[in-house]
């Protein structure tokens, strides 16, 4: 019998290796796998490369992980926020490497990894400093930049509902990077507040098919983190 449900966060993250590339879902307050991030901090793996849209807020979650000094590099689109002071300090003192990627290129590079695409040409970023040194090509009169996929050893994502095969649905904008990160990692671990029997998710409504999911952990449903953002933060 296939059962991807793990009894605890600690059990689901027991084998994370030093040097791993870890994708972490979430955009703003929505879809942050807070239990799994705390679990990764407790597990203690170091020399990590983190892939996330942002670089943490306040002192919790990803910011708390950064604060441990176990993150070597972050790949993201928008590290600078009003309360990203943990990252800011690490970056300014040269203790973390930043690979800044336009958000759509970030998403597509993740998707490409999951879809087995070797590289792709994208118009985004052409002629800008973020495309410096990259291969370019004009196709049908339009200039493009060559971008490579981002593969991960581990993806940590938050979903709304799962079954023991790992089929997932999400909740509103908490979906964000979850479905594509699930595809791009060798091991995808999902936290969900709700686990249902097989067939309990309408097959027409499954967003992430279980083939992309390896481990599921049930967690308490918590109100999404609401503090820490000012309106102009992007």
């Amino acid at each position: 019998m296939i059962n991807k449900i793990y009894p605890s966060v600690a059990a689901a993250l027991a084998d994370v290796q030093d040097g791993a590339t870890v994708m972490i879902g979430g955009f703003g307050t929505a879809g942050i796998p807070t239990y799994l991030i705390d679990g990764l901090i407790a597990q203690g793996a170091k020399d990590l490369t983190i892939v996330n849209n942002n670089a943490g807020n306040g002192n919790t979650g990803l910011a708390a992980l950064l604060k441990t000094g176990r993150v070597r590099k972050i790949i993201c689109s928008f590290p600078r926020q009003v309360d990203s002071y943990v990252f800011d300090e690490l970056y300014r003192s040269g203790r973390i490497e930043l690979e800044l990627v336009p958000q759509g290129n970030l998403a597509e590079r993740i998707r490409a990894a999951g879809a087995g695409i070797g590289a792709f040409y994208t118009p985004t970023g052409y002629g800008t400093t973020l495309a410096e040194g990259k291969e370019t090509r004009v196709i049908d009169g339009r200039p493009y930049v060559l971008e490579y996929p981002i593969h991960a050893d581990l993806a940590l994502i938050k979903a709304e509902r799962a079954d023991r095969w790992g089929n997932l649905t999400y909740r509103m904008t908490a979906r964000n990077f979850g479905p594509i990160m699930a595809m791009a990692a060798k091991c995808t671990v999902v936290e969900v507040p709700e686990i249902v029997e097989l067939g309990g998710i309408d097959p027409e409504a499954v967003v992430t098919p279980g083939i992309f999911v390896h481990r599921v952990v049930q967690v308490e449903r918590t109100a999404t983190q609401a503090g820490g953002f000012r309106k102009e933060a992007a």
Binding site: F27, P79, R80, T124, G125, L130, T173, G178, T224, A234
Partner: protein, 213 residues
């Protein structure tokens, strides 16, 4: 001469968004355009974090932090609206499916180059978000910005001195003084704030303008 207020600028942009359009409104000033879309015009708002059919801010106490916009503010979903993941969301931009995108800017060049993501200050932490994807993706990219910097310099320039977001992507600029189409035939002024002579607008603007009103 009275410059257009931010609300008047937003209303002026809203006037040009047609029925049925799929529209992305950038963070900041462009977000205000949503408040001026007439109720009887059906316009579908896109948010980069996976929403089509985005509605206004919820009533106080009704915020759900799983339903936010690109600026991370709580929003609502209109009936018919839907959610999707980030790669689909940016395919809507990059694939040319959005009709209009409205962005803020530090500078726009005569050729439609856009600079809006980075001041280039050496100590600034760079952050780009979806700016580069938005700039080049929509069928029409419009910019909303003050005509002049705080120091009184033209934000319409021959060549951008700030780092570029996209090349040749801006087709129209709405400022607090004028509405200007950037075309291969030049920068054509199609609207001008009341009481400002065209010659005075030209004097304030660092690129040659054509009076096309």
């Amino acid at each position: 001469m009275q410059k257009w207020t931010r609300d008047q600028m937003a209303a002026r942009v809203a006037r040009d968004i047609p029925e049925g359009a799929y529209v992305n409104l950038g963070i900041g000033l462009p977000t205000m355009v949503a408040n001026h879309l007439p109720a009887d015009r059906e316009v579908i708002l896109h948010s980069e974090n996976g929403v089509l059919g985005m509605g206004p801010a919820p009533a106080p106490g009704q915020e759900d932090y799983d339903l936010i916009n690109a600026g991370k503010q709580p929003v609502t979903l209109r009936p018919g609206g839907c959610f999707f993941h980030h790669a689909d969301s940016f395919a809507m931009m990059r694939g040319g499916h959005l009709d209009v995108c409205v962005l803020g800017a530090f500078q726009v060049s005569a050729g439609g180059d856009l600079a809006n993501w980075h001041t280039g200050a050496p100590d600034a932490i760079p952050a780009v978000g979806g700016a580069m994807d938005l700039a080049i993706g929509a069928k029409k990219t419009w910019v909303m910005m003050e005509h002049l910097t705080k120091g009184g310099e033209s934000k319409l320039v021959e060549r951008c001195t700030y780092p570029l977001t996209g090349i040749g992507c801006v087709s129209r600029v709405y400022t607090d003084l004028a509405v200007i189409d950037l075309t291969p035939e030049g920068a054509r002024v199609i609207d001008l704030v009341e009481g400002l002579p065209f010659d005075e607008l030209q004097r304030l603007t660092a690129i040659p303008l054509v009076d096309a009103r």
